[in-house]
Subunit: 304 residues, 4 copies
């Protein structure tokens, strides 16, 4: 398939959406990003790589980091992880406290903020230097030793992240955070503040599409079955309360972040990452969603 | 792949689960079914059929009917259907009024009761004799002209179905049912009361796995894209508040019913139906879930 | 105290509010009421009666009827009534299904629709001709043998009352309605459709202010303690989700209806009824609320 | 009326309830209180004082402090206070985050934790040394210069008060806390940690029963109307989700705390305080509720 031509077609077709929506602006470091950027990078298991636009510009991966921290937590805890969180779609906004209170501190799934805070607590229990380990893991996965944290973003989010602090306190109230609250929040905000490009993300997601070769990076090992199950979670829970919409329109397991990035995979085929800062009301990149919808339509390659 | 051997293995491995759970007993006709039955039928796009156990015993398909009525509604209304319901997972129990009230009468998706009641209202608007049309459509899809309604089940459910009547009244209150309430409820309960065997269901679901050949039965036509999108909805919404669990453990688009049946498909590969009346707390067949989990594990054929 | 002068003052002071809000218009019979009417009637235990404006015009008492049906139900069931409903304020809109579902079919209190539907079911179990009995009881209480039902209102409300039908079905689902649903709804809508004037209502509420003389009308007997407890319920639950507001601004036990009427009592002192059809967003009469606020301020006679 | 004899009767009649329920034990300082204590103190506006049992033992007033902080906040902000909180009963548990999230950070009323946290924020904005001012105010109101904070209680509650921290962070998220979060929480926990006896509390509540004489203590002035309105709020909101129950059974404005204390007033008559540490499931003192129910029954003096 001529992926280059397809990416070019997509770029043209989504041009009318270029000015819709607004980027996240709750902290200065995100607010000052040029919103009119767009990049996309595809990497196939056959070794092909295809990129257009701002595919090498780094951006804040934000909630996409939840996929990587979940991989680590699954390695450390195995199926035992599910005593502390569910794997059902949340059916409501990504930071809703309501469900968490009704369900007595058990987050619905690991890809909402509450679940990722518990995941961060798990990493703290298993790693002496979780921040260092996490970025090393991402450097290995992405094949790019130069990626790193944006400390300004982490500090800004931590200082104004009252909703996440409320969630963390509620989890602690229900006994579902074992470590120190401030340490958990620090690690959580650091993981959100990693900066990667579309190229980095596509490379880092490719192992989740690969069922032939065991997942083993920096001592973190997952079975094929675990990889498939992570894909299942991305499919049902990866897009806040737009998971059904993404599944309907795109049909790939994936994860979005408020930085405007989306990473997705087609099992046994490819990984794809797209980035554009302008978001819809649900917090997902407008051009990113549209680009991926066109991609699976034009290639006729979705999981369905 | 030796599917026969795999089905035999499954039958043996799930034996320890045979007495767990209880069948639905809210109406006499369901309560008197022998709960210790188990059947499974696989049909591939290559033309292979494989069945074991009680695969030819007919049972009440209940909510599995929601997939067929959705197919009809999509044919009649196209994307306009989504002005009257969403396609997001519900994140709560299958008959919860709460979400419906908060969202002002717009059901979360077509596979929960509220959505299927709106779907029934759509069919009433397009068909003069919807009950007759529906059963003819299923006879065509299943290739079995002898299947039919169990009128006793429909009448019993209608006479004690206060929760569904509450939902229907709430939908009417919000203007999302246009036709006569009693007609809508009658059609809804009739569709739930269809009786089919695993063999019938596997045959009837096979077209949803087939992306090569246009879906066209009894004048009802769906595009490949529409079929894929129906699969996406089954994947995220097909198992009440256990959709994530089914996706995680099984990894196939499908739909369950409180009669104990589950039908699922693997795109471009096969359709599979399983039946066993004993249910877990979420209303899904215990042996059915377990059998499908083993099937995708042993065949390594899931969508992920 | 010169009550006449006070009522005149009130009438003048509330004039600026005369055009605010809109009358209920969900059925034709309410929509065609002249919205610019205002009446007030005070009756004291000393025998004084004071009325101004449209105090003798009859209007639809609507939810004010819930006080009278509660009196009957307490007579028939005594404290046993509280196994079927609570006596806590609802904290949400007057017809919310949410709370009812979370609390498994036990209405929060008898003055919201759900509670009044259960109350109607109680009356059906104790009375052969509840509609006749109820209107006779009100004629006795009000001392006016000419008051009656507005059948057009009852029929209209019944035919479009989908929310109340949803509530009634939900109650039935939880086993908290024992009788026939249609009979319960018919009685409920009939009781709401009684027409009385401010003078009638003030007279009918006076016994609830009188702790010296036993309550005994048409064979319905309540103890002083029961009367006081009914006042407590009116105080905390009488104004939908504006009970706290009414308590704060007026400080009297009372009950409002969407017909624009409000009846209230000052224990051991007086009963007062006010009517004006224009409602605020919470469904309470704007001029009625304001008039009563002024009345307790000017007389310095509230329960606090 | 022979109040002494009435209190003795009550003491005898509630004896069967002496071992029901459990004291609060979420912090050591509360857990080690002898649970089998009971005291009651009545003070009338005529100058009579009547006390029995452990009426002079000091206990943690906990949420009863919310009445005093509300008095201060009303003095400082007047009716403007209601832009930051409501005055409606909450209809759910005393620390529920759900309602707060649905209502975008506006607490339902000042007597639930969320409202009292906003009140603490108000005091911080108006007072340089709010902790000192508050205890001086209570010493003046109670006529007892020796009452004070139990620092151990304040520190313990602060260190394990994750639910309150969650609420405070949520309020901050919605912009309804202006000051420093830790300062707000410190003041809040300090106010809850005041220790007073029944005698102290009865004395301190008496001004809220007195409509003849202006409320003016330590420069804090409230009008008679404001006092009455505070009573209205206590009536509808003073007992978490048992406000209706207390109103029904007792019929007095009042406030309870998890330390086992309850203070209540009868306007123009008296103030009464009762204490017994064992609580019911809603967090209110079992013997305290029962004692007050008997008191208003035996004296026939309630507001209804």
């Amino acid at each position: 398939m001529n992926y280059s031509a397809i990416l070019e077609t997509i770029k043209n077709e989504i041009a009318p959406y270029a000015r819709l929506g607004h980027q996240a602006d709750y902290i200065p470091a995100l607010a000052r990003v040029n919103p009119d950027q767009f990049g996309i990078c595809l990497q196939t298991l056959d070794g092909e790589t295809c990129a257009i636009g701002d595919a090498d510009v780094r951006f804040s991966i934000q909630s996409i980091s939840k996929v990587f921290s979940l991989a680590l937590a699954l390695h450390f805890e195995g199926e035992g992880l599910w005593t502390r969180m569910g794997r059902e779609p949340s059916g409501s906004a990504f930071n809703s406290l309501v469900q968490l209170e009704y369900e007595h501190g058990i987050p619905r799934n690991p890809l909402i903020n509450a679940g990722a805070l518990v995941t961060a607590d798990v990493l703290l229990a298993h790693l002496d230097h979780p921040e260092e380990f996490f970025i090393d893991f991402l450097r290995t996965l992405s094949g790019n030793p130069s990626i790193g944290y944006n400390i300004e973003v982490a500090v800004s989010e931590h200082s104004c992240g009252y909703m996440n602090a409320a969630i963390a306190n509620l989890l602690k109230h229900y006994g579902n955070i074992h470590g120190d609250l401030e340490r958990v929040l620090h690690l959580y905000f650091m993981m959100c503040a990693v900066e990667m490009s579309c190229r980095d993300l596509a490379h880092a997601f490719l192992p989740f599409a690969n069922h032939q070769q065991p997942f083993r990076y920096d001592g973190i090992a997952l079975t094929t079955s675990q990889i498939k199950r992570m894909n299942a979670i991305m499919q049902t829970c990866g897009f806040y309360d737009e998971a059904g919409e993404f599944s309907y329109l795109v049909g790939l397991p994936g994860k979005s972040g408020v930085g405007g990035g989306i990473a997705a995979i087609c099992p046994s085929r490819y990984a794809i990452a797209v980035w554009s800062p302008r978001l819809n009301a649900k917090g997902n990149s407008i051009m990113g969603m549209k680009a991926l919808e066109l991609f699976t339509t034009l290639t006729a390659e979705s999981i369905f």
